[in-house]
Symmetry: C2
Subunit: 221 residues, 2 copies
DNA sequence: TCGCATTAGTGATAGTTTTCTCATAATCAT
DNA sequence: ATGATTATGAGAAAACTATCACTAATGCGA
């Protein structure tokens, strides 16, 4: 049997589907069609079916999907059938904001500790957590079996934080900002870069107006 | 002449290239090859050249690119030759963190005002800004010629905030969280969903271990 | 000045992701 | 039961994106 690579876009959409479905379930909806999911989250119905088809057959022809079951299947696919302990490195503004972010807890992510190497921040309280010195990272990671680390330190320290997390046994990292981090093969890294997102906006604004395609793409010769 | 659509991934990479190049420039580097850029940001050299080729010819064969010139060209493409006034709606944890985020200012984004509809937050100071009631949004947008809005309100209020921003004349929105917003054709919207990013990590962790493909893809019948 | 090493630019190719189309299966009304 | 209707699942096609491989400049050293 051929093992299909699952596109990352599919994984992202599954996350979106599951949250849409949870809203439906809360409203008492028990059955849903790919068409309704598609409408609800802004993709095509075929896309919804294809995304699910990577993992099995979850629907009933002529009927649709059981909301409850589909939520369960997707959460299982995403590895969200249990909660995940998470550590956060970097107790600055962003780190503090993320600690307070309800969305994480709602999805089963449990921030168990926050670390920093700045003496001014160590000992400070964020939510119910005391900011710990990074030296204690290995110990906490081992104690809680933490596999996921969120890095919200300045760009220049990102690699250092990543190294420390990996050495402590963490094998999945979420980084912020433009830094490129190098990690061993077995470690998964994803990045959020807010400036990129804003620059996609300005590109679209600028492109539409200043560089009308018929000028901009004029071949040289 | 055929008008090429520029992949969004290309725009994202241009943003990354430009920041890498700015680091080089700071270190006194004057010339760079596609190979060196590729190494520096973790893509292929051909990718770098292709990305640039969407917009023109910026290099010299046998030599490479002038760091200074290439920075200038990319910033122009991204619409970053002038600063952009930005408004932020939602003075919660995330909004507060974004106000303090240096990365925005470094790239020419200037948060000119923060709004909220929560009386407990209105009047509060964030950085040098006083949180204003959303009623004043149209006025501020008009005054500063704001075209970009960042929405950091709870999911249930996202559409409302978007509507208000659009009605005030903003035509580019950055939203956070899972909400799907509906806007007129001419408005650009991009979204940052941090839960998705974490769930891509858990998918990878779970997938590798719990669902080995040879089990997971077993056909139903 | 000539030839060699280097590197951008580009058309062709390969690979990936999305969309399309239709056969299949289930429900419902008669 | 049976036919009409609905909606999934899946293979094919289309669209899109990335890589490859080659050509064309350019600089440098002999």
């Amino acid at each position: 049997m051929k093992v299909l690579r699952v596109p990352e876009a599919t994984v992202s959409r599954l996350s979106i589907y599951s949250r849409f479905l949870e809203r439906l379930e809360k409203n008492g909806v028990t059955t849903v069609s790919s068409n309704e999911i598609a409408k609800g989250v802004g993709v095509s119905p075929a896309q919804v079916r294809k995304d699910l088809a990577y993992f099995g057959e979850f629907g009933t022809r002529g009927v649709g999907y059981s909301v409850k079951d589909l939520i369960h299947y997707i959460l299982k696919i995403l590895g969200l059938t249990h909660t995940w302990p998470v550590v956060l490195v970097g107790a600055g503004n962003l780190g503090t904001a993320l600690c307070a972010y309800r969305g994480f807890r709602d999805r089963g992510f449990n921030i168990v500790a926050v670390f920093d190497n700045d003496l001014l921040k160590i000992g400070k309280r964020i939510q119910e957590l005391e900011v710990l010195p990074v030296e204690r990272l290995p110990e906490v990671v081992a104690e809680h079996g933490v596999r996921i680390g969120i890095i919200t330190v300045p760009q220049s320290s990102t690699q250092e934080a990543a190294d420390l997390l990996v050495k402590s046994g963490v094998d999945a990292l979420l980084t912020f900002g433009p830094a490129v981090v190098h990690v061993p093969e077995h470690v998964v890294v994803r990045n959020v870069d807010l400036s990129i997102k804003l620059e996609i906006l300005t590109f679209n604004l600028a492109f539409r107006e200043e560089f009308h395609p018929s000028h901009f793409f004029e071949p040289k010769g």
